[in-house]
Protein backbone atom coordinates (compact mmCIF):
# COMPACT_ATOMS: atom_id res chain seq x y z
CA UNK A 1 0.00 0.00 0.00
CA UNK A 2 1.09 3.54 -0.72
CA UNK A 3 2.63 4.83 2.57
CA UNK A 4 0.75 8.11 2.27
CA UNK A 5 -2.57 6.27 2.02
CA UNK A 6 -1.60 4.08 4.96
CA UNK A 7 -0.81 7.24 6.90
CA UNK A 8 -4.21 8.70 6.02
CA UNK A 9 -5.97 5.50 7.10
CA UNK A 10 -4.16 5.54 10.44
CA UNK A 11 -5.23 9.13 11.01
CA UNK A 12 -8.83 8.29 10.17
CA UNK A 13 -8.71 5.32 12.56
CA UNK A 14 -7.35 7.59 15.27
CA UNK A 15 -10.14 10.11 14.67
CA UNK A 16 -12.79 7.37 14.73
CA UNK A 17 -11.44 6.09 18.05
CA UNK A 18 -11.27 9.60 19.51
CA UNK A 19 -14.90 10.14 18.57
CA UNK A 20 -15.92 6.78 20.05
CA UNK A 21 -14.17 7.69 23.29
CA UNK A 22 -15.89 11.05 23.36
CA UNK A 23 -19.24 9.38 22.74
CA UNK A 24 -18.61 7.02 25.65
CA UNK A 25 -17.72 9.95 27.92
CA UNK A 26 -20.86 11.77 26.94
CA UNK A 27 -23.04 8.74 27.46
CA UNK A 28 -21.66 8.08 30.91
CA UNK A 29 -22.97 11.47 32.02
CA UNK A 30 -26.50 10.10 31.82
CA UNK A 31 -27.91 6.93 33.29
CA UNK A 32 -30.96 6.74 31.09
CA UNK A 33 -31.18 4.85 27.83
CA UNK A 34 -32.35 7.06 24.99
CA UNK A 35 -35.80 5.97 23.75
CA UNK A 36 -35.19 7.93 20.54
CA UNK A 37 -31.96 6.13 19.74
CA UNK A 38 -33.40 3.74 17.17
CA UNK A 39 -35.07 6.62 15.37
CA UNK A 40 -31.77 8.52 15.36
CA UNK A 41 -29.91 5.58 13.81
CA UNK A 42 -32.69 5.16 11.23
CA UNK A 43 -32.33 8.84 10.41
CA UNK A 44 -28.56 8.44 9.96
CA UNK A 45 -29.16 5.46 7.67
CA UNK A 46 -31.70 7.42 5.66
CA UNK A 47 -29.28 10.29 5.12
CA UNK A 48 -26.30 8.05 4.47
CA UNK A 49 -25.17 8.08 0.85
CA UNK A 50 -21.52 7.08 1.14
CA UNK A 51 -19.83 3.88 -0.04
CA UNK A 52 -19.91 2.14 3.34
CA UNK A 53 -22.67 -0.54 3.11
CA UNK A 54 -25.88 0.34 4.92
CA UNK A 55 -25.97 -3.01 6.69
CA UNK A 56 -22.46 -2.31 7.92
CA UNK A 57 -23.51 1.09 9.25
CA UNK A 58 -26.32 -0.57 11.17
CA UNK A 59 -23.90 -3.17 12.57
CA UNK A 60 -21.37 -0.55 13.58
CA UNK A 61 -23.95 1.48 15.48
CA UNK A 62 -25.36 -1.62 17.13
CA UNK A 63 -21.85 -2.52 18.29
CA UNK A 64 -21.18 1.02 19.48
CA UNK A 65 -24.46 1.07 21.40
CA UNK A 66 -23.82 -2.31 23.00
CA UNK A 67 -20.33 -1.39 24.20
CA UNK A 68 -21.29 2.12 25.26
CA UNK A 69 -24.23 0.76 27.26
CA UNK A 70 -21.97 -1.72 29.03
CA UNK A 71 -19.40 0.99 29.68
CA UNK A 72 -22.08 3.39 30.95
CA UNK A 73 -23.50 0.83 33.39
CA UNK A 74 -20.01 -0.01 34.64
CA UNK A 75 -19.06 3.64 35.17
CA UNK A 76 -22.31 4.54 36.89
CA UNK A 77 -22.37 1.64 39.35
Amino acid sequence: MNPALRHQLRHLDGAILALLDERARLLVQTNAADPLRRAAVDDILRRHNGPFPAAGVDDVFATIDRHCAAFSIEENT
Partner: protein
Protein backbone atom coordinates in the same frame (compact mmCIF):
# COMPACT_ATOMS: atom_id res chain seq x y z
CA UNK B 1 15.79 36.11 30.26
CA UNK B 2 14.37 32.99 31.86
CA UNK B 3 16.46 30.48 33.77
CA UNK B 4 15.37 26.86 34.02
CA UNK B 5 17.20 25.53 37.02
CA UNK B 6 18.12 21.90 37.39
CA UNK B 7 15.22 19.90 38.90
CA UNK B 8 15.90 19.29 42.56
CA UNK B 9 17.91 22.49 43.07
CA UNK B 10 17.54 23.24 46.77
CA UNK B 11 15.56 26.22 47.96
CA UNK B 12 18.70 27.57 49.62
CA UNK B 13 20.56 27.47 46.31
CA UNK B 14 17.67 29.13 44.50
CA UNK B 15 17.55 31.89 47.07
CA UNK B 16 21.29 32.38 46.93
CA UNK B 17 21.17 32.69 43.15
CA UNK B 18 18.20 35.04 43.37
CA UNK B 19 19.98 37.29 45.86
CA UNK B 20 23.12 37.42 43.76
CA UNK B 21 21.07 38.45 40.73
CA UNK B 22 19.25 41.10 42.72
CA UNK B 23 22.59 42.51 43.84
CA UNK B 24 23.32 42.99 40.14
CA UNK B 25 20.27 45.22 39.93
CA UNK B 26 17.97 42.65 38.31
CA UNK B 27 14.42 41.97 39.37
CA UNK B 28 13.86 38.26 39.84
CA UNK B 29 10.42 36.74 39.36
CA UNK B 30 9.66 33.14 40.20
CA UNK B 31 7.40 30.84 38.24
CA UNK B 32 4.63 28.92 40.00
CA UNK B 33 5.98 25.84 38.25
CA UNK B 34 6.51 23.05 40.78
CA UNK B 35 8.48 20.52 38.78
CA UNK B 36 11.59 22.70 38.89
CA UNK B 37 12.59 26.24 39.89
CA UNK B 38 12.22 28.72 37.03
CA UNK B 39 13.42 32.30 37.42
CA UNK B 40 12.64 35.24 35.17
CA UNK B 41 15.00 38.18 35.15
CA UNK B 42 13.80 41.70 34.46
CA UNK B 43 16.23 44.53 33.86
CA UNK B 44 19.40 45.13 31.91
CA UNK B 45 21.56 42.04 31.99
CA UNK B 46 25.34 42.59 31.97
CA UNK B 47 26.78 40.36 29.23
CA UNK B 48 29.38 38.85 31.55
CA UNK B 49 26.63 37.83 33.96
CA UNK B 50 24.62 36.22 31.15
CA UNK B 51 27.64 34.16 30.18
CA UNK B 52 28.32 33.05 33.74
CA UNK B 53 24.67 32.10 34.27
CA UNK B 54 24.73 29.89 31.21
CA UNK B 55 27.65 28.03 32.77
CA UNK B 56 26.22 27.82 36.29
CA UNK B 57 25.81 24.31 37.68
CA UNK B 58 22.29 25.18 38.83
CA UNK B 59 21.13 26.46 35.44
CA UNK B 60 20.05 23.84 32.94
CA UNK B 61 18.69 26.15 30.25
CA UNK B 62 18.52 29.85 29.48
CA UNK B 63 15.64 31.12 27.34
CA UNK B 64 15.17 34.50 25.76
CA UNK B 65 11.41 35.02 25.37
CA UNK B 66 9.69 37.30 22.89
CA UNK B 67 10.12 41.00 23.70
CA UNK B 68 10.07 41.61 27.43
CA UNK B 69 7.65 38.83 28.25
CA UNK B 70 8.47 37.02 31.43
CA UNK B 71 5.60 35.77 33.59
CA UNK B 72 3.32 34.92 30.67
CA UNK B 73 6.13 33.57 28.50
CA UNK B 74 5.86 29.93 27.47
CA UNK B 75 9.20 29.17 29.10
CA UNK B 76 7.83 30.03 32.54
CA UNK B 77 5.89 26.76 32.66
CA UNK B 78 6.73 23.21 31.75
CA UNK B 79 3.16 22.71 30.52
CA UNK B 80 0.56 25.21 29.27
CA UNK B 81 -1.32 26.66 32.22
CA UNK B 82 -4.85 25.77 33.23
CA UNK B 83 -7.08 28.54 34.56
CA UNK B 84 -9.91 27.79 36.97
CA UNK B 85 -13.00 29.97 36.60
CA UNK B 86 -15.35 28.69 39.25
CA UNK B 87 -15.69 24.98 38.53
CA UNK B 88 -14.61 25.39 34.92
CA UNK B 89 -11.02 24.56 34.02
CA UNK B 90 -9.87 26.39 30.92
CA UNK B 91 -6.90 24.90 29.09
CA UNK B 92 -5.10 21.64 29.65
CA UNK B 93 -6.66 19.72 26.79
CA UNK B 94 -10.31 20.59 27.24
CA UNK B 95 -12.41 22.93 25.13
CA UNK B 96 -14.96 25.27 26.71
CA UNK B 97 -17.86 27.23 25.28
CA UNK B 98 -18.70 30.64 26.71
CA UNK B 99 -22.12 31.92 25.73
CA UNK B 100 -24.72 34.46 26.71
CA UNK B 101 -26.29 37.71 25.67
CA UNK B 102 -24.13 40.57 24.49
CA UNK B 103 -25.91 42.81 27.00
CA UNK B 104 -27.83 41.88 30.11
CA UNK B 105 -31.30 43.11 29.16
CA UNK B 106 -33.27 42.43 32.30
CA UNK B 107 -33.66 39.79 34.97
CA UNK B 108 -36.13 37.51 33.20
CA UNK B 109 -34.41 37.67 29.83
CA UNK B 110 -30.95 36.89 31.14
CA UNK B 111 -32.29 34.04 33.27
CA UNK B 112 -34.11 32.57 30.29
CA UNK B 113 -30.99 32.74 28.11
CA UNK B 114 -28.87 31.37 30.97
CA UNK B 115 -31.07 28.28 31.18
CA UNK B 116 -30.70 27.69 27.47
CA UNK B 117 -26.96 28.26 27.60
CA UNK B 118 -26.67 25.65 30.34
CA UNK B 119 -29.01 23.21 28.60
CA UNK B 120 -27.01 23.55 25.38
CA UNK B 121 -23.95 22.34 27.30
CA UNK B 122 -21.99 25.59 27.43
CA UNK B 123 -19.74 26.13 30.41
CA UNK B 124 -19.61 29.83 31.23
CA UNK B 125 -22.31 32.47 31.04
CA UNK B 126 -21.30 35.80 29.55
CA UNK B 127 -23.25 39.05 29.64
CA UNK B 128 -22.39 42.73 29.44
CA UNK B 129 -23.50 45.12 32.15
CA UNK B 130 -21.09 47.93 31.26
CA UNK B 131 -21.10 48.30 27.50
CA UNK B 132 -18.34 50.05 25.53
CA UNK B 133 -20.40 51.34 22.60
CA UNK B 134 -19.16 53.27 19.61
CA UNK B 135 -21.90 55.88 19.98
CA UNK B 136 -22.91 57.49 23.26
CA UNK B 137 -26.53 57.22 22.10
CA UNK B 138 -26.44 53.43 22.02
CA UNK B 139 -27.46 51.24 24.96
CA UNK B 140 -24.75 51.54 27.60
CA UNK B 141 -25.79 48.61 29.78
CA UNK B 142 -27.54 48.39 33.14
CA UNK B 143 -24.32 48.83 35.10
CA UNK B 144 -24.24 47.39 38.61
CA UNK B 145 -27.85 46.21 38.35
CA UNK B 146 -26.83 44.26 35.25
CA UNK B 147 -24.02 42.58 37.19
CA UNK B 148 -26.52 41.55 39.85
CA UNK B 149 -28.92 40.11 37.29
CA UNK B 150 -26.14 38.24 35.50
CA UNK B 151 -24.76 36.75 38.69
CA UNK B 152 -28.22 35.73 39.89
CA UNK B 153 -28.87 34.04 36.55
CA UNK B 154 -25.52 32.28 36.69
CA UNK B 155 -26.20 31.02 40.19
CA UNK B 156 -29.70 29.91 39.24
CA UNK B 157 -28.36 27.68 36.47
CA UNK B 158 -25.03 26.80 38.08
CA UNK B 159 -22.71 28.53 35.62
CA UNK B 160 -19.81 30.87 36.44
CA UNK B 161 -20.21 34.30 34.86
CA UNK B 162 -17.98 36.56 32.76
CA UNK B 163 -18.59 40.28 32.34
CA UNK B 164 -16.66 43.21 30.96
CA UNK B 165 -15.15 45.81 33.24
CA UNK B 166 -14.37 49.23 31.79
CA UNK B 167 -13.37 51.31 34.78
CA UNK B 168 -11.02 50.57 37.67
CA UNK B 169 -13.53 52.25 39.96
CA UNK B 170 -15.94 49.36 39.27
CA UNK B 171 -13.62 46.67 40.65
CA UNK B 172 -15.39 46.67 44.06
CA UNK B 173 -18.77 46.19 42.34
CA UNK B 174 -17.47 43.21 40.38
CA UNK B 175 -15.99 41.77 43.56
CA UNK B 176 -19.10 42.45 45.63
CA UNK B 177 -21.25 40.65 43.07
CA UNK B 178 -18.73 37.84 42.88
CA UNK B 179 -18.36 38.03 39.10
CA UNK B 180 -16.29 34.93 38.40
CA UNK B 181 -14.21 36.33 35.55
CA UNK B 182 -13.49 39.95 34.63
CA UNK B 183 -13.32 40.64 30.93
CA UNK B 184 -11.11 43.38 29.55
CA UNK B 185 -12.53 44.36 26.20
CA UNK B 186 -10.64 45.08 23.01
CA UNK B 187 -10.86 48.82 23.49
CA UNK B 188 -9.27 48.63 26.93
CA UNK B 189 -6.56 46.10 26.21
CA UNK B 190 -3.85 48.71 26.71
CA UNK B 191 -5.59 50.67 29.46
CA UNK B 192 -2.71 49.99 31.79
CA UNK B 193 -4.19 51.62 34.87
CA UNK B 194 -7.25 49.40 34.46
CA UNK B 195 -5.04 46.32 33.98
CA UNK B 196 -3.07 47.15 37.13
CA UNK B 197 -6.24 47.66 39.14
CA UNK B 198 -7.94 44.45 38.11
CA UNK B 199 -4.73 42.47 38.47
CA UNK B 200 -5.13 42.98 42.20
CA UNK B 201 -8.80 41.94 42.25
CA UNK B 202 -7.98 38.28 42.83
CA UNK B 203 -10.24 37.17 39.97
CA UNK B 204 -9.54 35.45 36.66
CA UNK B 205 -9.26 37.92 33.80
CA UNK B 206 -10.26 37.36 30.18
CA UNK B 207 -8.11 39.73 28.12
CA UNK B 208 -9.38 40.38 24.63
CA UNK B 209 -7.02 41.36 21.89
CA UNK B 210 -7.20 45.03 20.93
CA UNK B 211 -8.74 45.62 17.54
CA UNK B 212 -5.48 47.07 16.23
CA UNK B 213 -3.05 45.32 18.56
CA UNK B 214 -0.17 43.12 17.51
CA UNK B 215 0.28 39.84 19.33
CA UNK B 216 3.36 41.34 20.96
CA UNK B 217 1.29 44.21 22.40
CA UNK B 218 -1.46 41.85 23.48
CA UNK B 219 0.91 39.54 25.33
CA UNK B 220 2.64 42.47 27.00
CA UNK B 221 -0.78 43.65 28.20
CA UNK B 222 -1.20 40.19 29.72
CA UNK B 223 2.23 40.63 31.29
CA UNK B 224 0.90 43.76 33.05
CA UNK B 225 -1.80 41.60 34.61
CA UNK B 226 0.63 38.91 35.65
CA UNK B 227 3.17 41.36 37.00
CA UNK B 228 0.38 43.00 38.98
CA UNK B 229 -0.43 39.74 40.70
CA UNK B 230 -3.09 38.15 38.49
CA UNK B 231 -2.39 34.43 38.25
CA UNK B 232 -5.41 33.44 36.17
CA UNK B 233 -5.35 35.03 32.73
CA UNK B 234 -7.25 33.98 29.62
CA UNK B 235 -6.45 35.47 26.25
CA UNK B 236 -9.19 35.96 23.69
CA UNK B 237 -8.70 36.64 19.99
CA UNK B 238 -11.72 38.58 18.69
CA UNK B 239 -10.69 39.80 15.28
CA UNK B 240 -8.54 42.68 14.20
CA UNK B 241 -9.30 45.61 11.97
CA UNK B 242 -8.10 45.18 8.40
CA UNK B 243 -9.05 46.58 5.00
CA UNK B 244 -11.62 43.79 4.59
CA UNK B 245 -15.14 45.14 4.94
CA UNK B 246 -17.13 41.94 4.31
CA UNK B 247 -16.94 41.13 8.00
CA UNK B 248 -16.92 43.32 11.09
CA UNK B 249 -13.28 42.39 11.74
CA UNK B 250 -10.83 39.78 10.49
CA UNK B 251 -10.48 36.74 12.73
CA UNK B 252 -6.76 36.22 13.12
CA UNK B 253 -6.45 32.48 13.61
CA UNK B 254 -3.01 32.49 12.03
CA UNK B 255 -1.43 33.58 15.30
CA UNK B 256 -2.90 30.81 17.45
CA UNK B 257 -0.30 28.11 16.78
CA UNK B 258 2.49 30.68 17.16
CA UNK B 259 1.07 31.94 20.43
CA UNK B 260 1.35 28.42 21.79
CA UNK B 261 5.10 28.86 21.39
CA UNK B 262 5.15 32.27 23.03
CA UNK B 263 2.84 31.93 26.02
CA UNK B 264 1.59 29.30 28.44
CA UNK B 265 -1.77 31.08 28.85
CA UNK B 266 -5.00 29.52 27.56
CA UNK B 267 -6.28 31.11 24.36
CA UNK B 268 -9.95 31.54 23.52
CA UNK B 269 -11.53 32.79 20.32
CA UNK B 270 -14.54 35.07 19.98
CA UNK B 271 -15.75 34.54 16.41
CA UNK B 272 -18.87 36.66 16.99
CA UNK B 273 -17.12 40.01 17.25
CA UNK B 274 -14.77 39.07 14.44
CA UNK B 275 -17.54 38.09 12.06
CA UNK B 276 -20.42 40.31 13.05
CA UNK B 277 -22.60 37.85 11.10
CA UNK B 278 -24.31 35.06 13.02
CA UNK B 279 -24.47 32.52 10.19
CA UNK B 280 -20.70 32.34 9.76
CA UNK B 281 -19.96 31.85 13.45
CA UNK B 282 -20.29 28.03 13.41
CA UNK B 283 -17.58 27.47 10.74
CA UNK B 284 -15.32 30.04 12.41
CA UNK B 285 -15.79 28.26 15.74
CA UNK B 286 -14.83 24.96 14.15
CA UNK B 287 -11.79 26.59 12.60
CA UNK B 288 -10.80 28.14 15.94
CA UNK B 289 -10.88 24.79 17.72
CA UNK B 290 -9.04 23.15 14.84
CA UNK B 291 -6.36 25.84 15.15
CA UNK B 292 -5.94 24.99 18.82
CA UNK B 293 -8.21 27.38 20.70
CA UNK B 294 -9.03 26.32 24.25
CA UNK B 295 -12.58 27.47 23.73
CA UNK B 296 -14.93 29.80 21.94
CA UNK B 297 -17.00 32.71 23.18
CA UNK B 298 -20.27 33.46 21.41
CA UNK B 299 -23.35 35.57 21.90
CA UNK B 300 -26.86 34.18 22.21
CA UNK B 301 -30.22 35.90 22.10
CA UNK B 302 -33.73 34.50 21.94
CA UNK B 303 -34.72 37.17 19.45
CA UNK B 304 -31.62 38.71 17.87
CA UNK B 305 -33.68 41.31 15.97
CA UNK B 306 -34.68 42.78 19.33
CA UNK B 307 -31.25 42.63 20.96
CA UNK B 308 -30.15 45.94 22.46
CA UNK B 309 -26.61 45.35 21.17
CA UNK B 310 -24.90 43.22 18.52
CA UNK B 311 -28.05 41.42 17.40
CA UNK B 312 -26.69 40.54 13.93
CA UNK B 313 -23.96 38.39 15.48
CA UNK B 314 -26.15 36.66 18.08
CA UNK B 315 -26.94 32.97 17.72
CA UNK B 316 -30.34 31.56 18.51
CA UNK B 317 -30.35 29.10 21.43
CA UNK B 318 -31.01 26.24 18.97
CA UNK B 319 -27.91 27.29 17.02
CA UNK B 320 -25.87 27.23 20.21
CA UNK B 321 -26.95 23.61 20.80
CA UNK B 322 -25.53 22.75 17.39
CA UNK B 323 -22.35 24.76 17.98
CA UNK B 324 -21.64 22.90 21.24
CA UNK B 325 -22.18 19.56 19.50
CA UNK B 326 -19.79 20.56 16.73
CA UNK B 327 -17.27 21.78 19.29
CA UNK B 328 -17.31 18.35 20.89
CA UNK B 329 -16.51 16.71 17.56
CA UNK B 330 -13.78 19.21 16.73
CA UNK B 331 -12.22 18.82 20.18
CA UNK B 332 -12.17 15.03 19.84
CA UNK B 333 -10.62 14.95 16.39
CA UNK B 334 -7.92 17.39 17.50
CA UNK B 335 -6.99 15.19 20.44
CA UNK B 336 -8.85 17.08 23.13
CA UNK B 337 -12.20 16.93 24.91
CA UNK B 338 -15.15 19.19 25.44
CA UNK B 339 -15.22 20.25 29.09
CA UNK B 340 -17.63 18.21 31.18
CA UNK B 341 -20.97 19.86 32.02
CA UNK B 342 -20.68 22.35 34.87
Amino acid sequence: MILHLVPGTTEASVRELQESLEREGLRVLRSRERSRPILALAGKMPSALAESLAKSAHVERVTKPMGELLLVARAMRELPSVVDVGRVRVGGGTVVVIAGPCSVEGRERVLSVARQVRDAGAHLLRGGAFKPRTSPYQFQGFGVEGLRQLKDAGEAVGLPVVSEIMDAADVPAFRDHDIDCLQVGARNMQNFSLLKAIARAGKPVLLKRGLAATVDEWLHAAEYLAEGGCERILLCERGIRTYEKATRNTLDLTVLPLMREWTHLPILVDPAHAAGIARIIPPLSRAAIAAGADGVAVEVHENPAEARSDGPQALLPSELVHLVAESRVMAAVTGRRLHAPV
